[in-house]
């Protein structure tokens, strides 16, 4: 009974196998479809400046904020024509990698 209990189920091609898991398998990161309306930090660093406000309409390629990371001031640019929905960061804030900075939404500006 206890023998049976310590096993976990792994499904391979429709069949359920009794087995154990490795630490690496248990700690694997589940994949999520990227949401292009959410802008995350690609490096840990400090927010030097924010050039936009909530509700502002911004053209593709315009610099929306400055993130200092790895001793470089990185310009974060608008990936497409759109509107700023919400700002999750403040000036001078120190953020980690993959920190949610902005929510945007596409908008036709013409």
């Amino acid at each position: 009974m206890s023998e049976e209990k310590k096993y976990k189920n792994l499904i391979v091609q429709g069949a359920v196998y009794k087995t154990t898991f490795t630490r690496k398998f248990e700690e694997r990161i589940n994949w999520e479809a990227p949401n292009e309306n959410l802008i995350h930090s690609f490096l840990p660093g400090t927010i030097i400046d924010i050039f936009i406000k909530t509700g502002e309409k911004v053209k593709e390629g315009e610099t929306i904020l400055l993130l200092e990371a790895m001793k470089m001031q990185n310009q974060v640019r608008m990936p497409f024509d759109g509107e700023i929905v919400k700002i999750y960061i403040r000036k001078d804030e120190v953020i980690s990698k993959n920190h949610l900075m902005l929510e945007i939404k596409p908008k036709n500006l013409k």
Binding site: V12, Q13, T19, T22, W31
Partner: protein
């Protein structure tokens, strides 16, 4: 001066230099729980067998105050000796001398013993315990590393190369062990990484301890950089000695045989394996039950344990085992287990060790992480390694052998010399559950009770295809054997394969997917 006084002078000089970094530094080394370089060599080699060279080597650096510094032996001990009376070459970095840092003379000593090992065709053991490049010697240190890496590569596949990490081994220094055949690590002592915790913190803001970043456990379990993991240095030396007993001293001769022993009487082999292919068991019990005595030297025990690799003996001869482990992740193939098996297969092939493959696996591990981690190119390594290997190759299929995994696990199609299957073997394009869902999709969907129909169709498929006889009818397996005949059949297969001679097409070298 008399001869006597000359000799006394030599002894005095030797004694002085053999102290390495001096009493204080030796005390510090002990406090860290580490043996000194000299103690390590003496503990590892046969008694009174060690002979040291370049004891009086000195650096010739002149920058940054180096001209006034005396570094005994320049921080490394080199020499020759024996393990179980087999000759070996060895170097051990001496952390008590300038932190074992690598300068030009230090590197020259290492490359000298490496050249010797390759020329004499004997194994090379390197004990790493070094703070890294000796900054004061600048580009000469880098040159030293490069010369070592180059020799590691030249010697690869000619002589066994063993790296023992008994202290820090960071930055560029890690690449010498990475180029060698077997890496040994010890809990709390071994530290390997390219970029240390402080740099990672300052650049990326990620905080991690040295142990969590590149300690023994991490390399044994997560990265796969280490092949053997021990709790203490003495345990580590025992592992090295055990390994040496299994492998030949170079690629032109076979490993020395040991006296033959019958397998230890234990559980009957047919009682180990449950008939239901979805219920696990420990594949190591099968290996033990068919090999001499009880010794099985498992390699990379903690990394990708869903596949087992290691050495055992059959009638005294060394055999390399590759076996799926149903106990972990159902024994699937994935990126890590493919890497692990492929490298071991190539090792066996390079050093004339026959390979026995024990198969029981449901296929490849499904998942986005696997696909994105490159399970295609990693999985291809197993196909490449088995196809290319010209040593005797024997396969026994115990239960599941489905799909691509069936092909990969040393099938007839990759030129296995002998393929045996138990009557419980299921050699099929996929498991009955998956196959029934596809082949009878329409019948199941249109049935009044789809689940009942599914079970019925699974059963139908099982009876028709999930057995060894379809493959046997094609000659893809040579013989369906009773489980208790396994050892005898493998032994016979190895015996008749002793003079196996096949030649691959002439080429400069192949292009394995690494």
């Amino acid at each position: 001066m008399s001869l006597r006084s000359n000799i006394l002078d030599l002894r005095k000089r030797k004694k002085e230099v053999q102290k390495g970094g001096g009493d204080k530094a030796i005390e510090k080394q002990a406090k860290m729980g580490k043996l000194t370089a000299r103690e390590r060599i003496l503990a590892l080699l046969d008694k009174n067998s060690f002979h040291e060279y370049d004891l009086f080597a000195e650096h010739s650096a002149t920058d940054f105050g180096m001209e006034s510094k005396v570094l005994h032996g320049d921080g490394v001990i080199i020499g020759t000796g024996t393990i179980y009376n087999k000759p070996i070459c060895i170097f051990a970095q001496d952390f008590t001398v300038a932190g074992g840092s690598l300068g030009l003379m230090h590197a020259r000593k290492i490359t000298k013993i490496m050249d010797h090992a390759l020329k004499m065709r004997v194994p090379l053991i390197g004990i790493n315990d070094s703070g890294g490049a000796r900054i004061q010697e600048g580009v000469n240190s880098l040159a030293g590393y490069g010369e070592i890496f180059f020799r590691n590569t030249l010697a690869s596949g000619v002589i066994p190369q063993i790296s023992v990490i008994l202290g820090p081994c960071a930055g560029g220094a890690v690449y010498s062990p990475a180029l060698t055949d077997f890496v040994f690590v010890v809990e709390n002592i071994s530290k390997m990484f390219i970029t240390g915790p402080s740099v990672i913190k300052s650049v990326l803001g990620e905080e991690i301890s040295m142990e969590e970043l590149g300690g023994a456990r991490v390399h044994a379990e997560i990265t796969g950089n280490a092949h053997f993991y021990a709790e203490t240095e003495m345990e580590c030396f025992d592992q090295i000695k055990a390994l040496i007993s299994y492998i030949p001293r170079n690629n032109s001769r076979k490993a020395l045989p040991y006296p033959s022993k019958p397998p230890k009487k234990g559980k009957k082999i047919e009682d180990i394996v449950p008939v239901d292919p979805r219920i696990p068991y420990d594949m190591r019990d099968i290996i033990i039950s068919i090999t001499d005595g009880t010794e099985f030297l498992e390699i990379m025990e903690h990394f990708a344990p869903n596949i087992i690799i290691g050495f055992a003996r059959m009638e005294g001869e060394t055999v390399g085992f590759v076996a799926n482990q149903p106990m972990v992740l159902a024994g699937v193939l994935d990126t890590d287990s493919s890497d692990k098996a492929a490298r071991f297969i190539r090792y066996c092939d390079a050093f004339l060790i026959p390979i026995v493959t024990l198969e029981d696996m449901p296929g490849y591990l499904p998942g986005v992480d696997q696909e994105h981690a490159g399970v295609i190119r990693h999985g291809a390594k197993i196909l490449y390694a088995y196809s290319e290997a010209t040593v005797p190759k024997v396969t026994v299929i115990l239960r599941k052998a489905y799909g691509g995994g069936y092909i990969a696990m040393n099938s007839r199609h990759l030129r296995a010399d002998f393929v045996f299957a138990w009557p419980t073997a299921e050699i099929a394009v996929m498991g009955p559950e998956g196959a029934a869902n596809i082949v009878f999709r329409k019948e199941i969907a249109e049935a009044e009770n789809p689940e009942e129909m599914r079970q019925q169709k699974i059963q139908e498929y099982k009876e028709k295809f999930a057995n060894p006889y379809v493959a046997a009818a094609q000659g893809y397996i040579d013989e369906v054997i009773e489980p208790k005949q396994t050892r005898a059949r493998i032994l016979h297969a190895l015996q008749v394969s002793e003079n196996k001679s096949v030649f691959l097409p002439n080429k400069k070298h192949g292009l394995p997917p690494f």
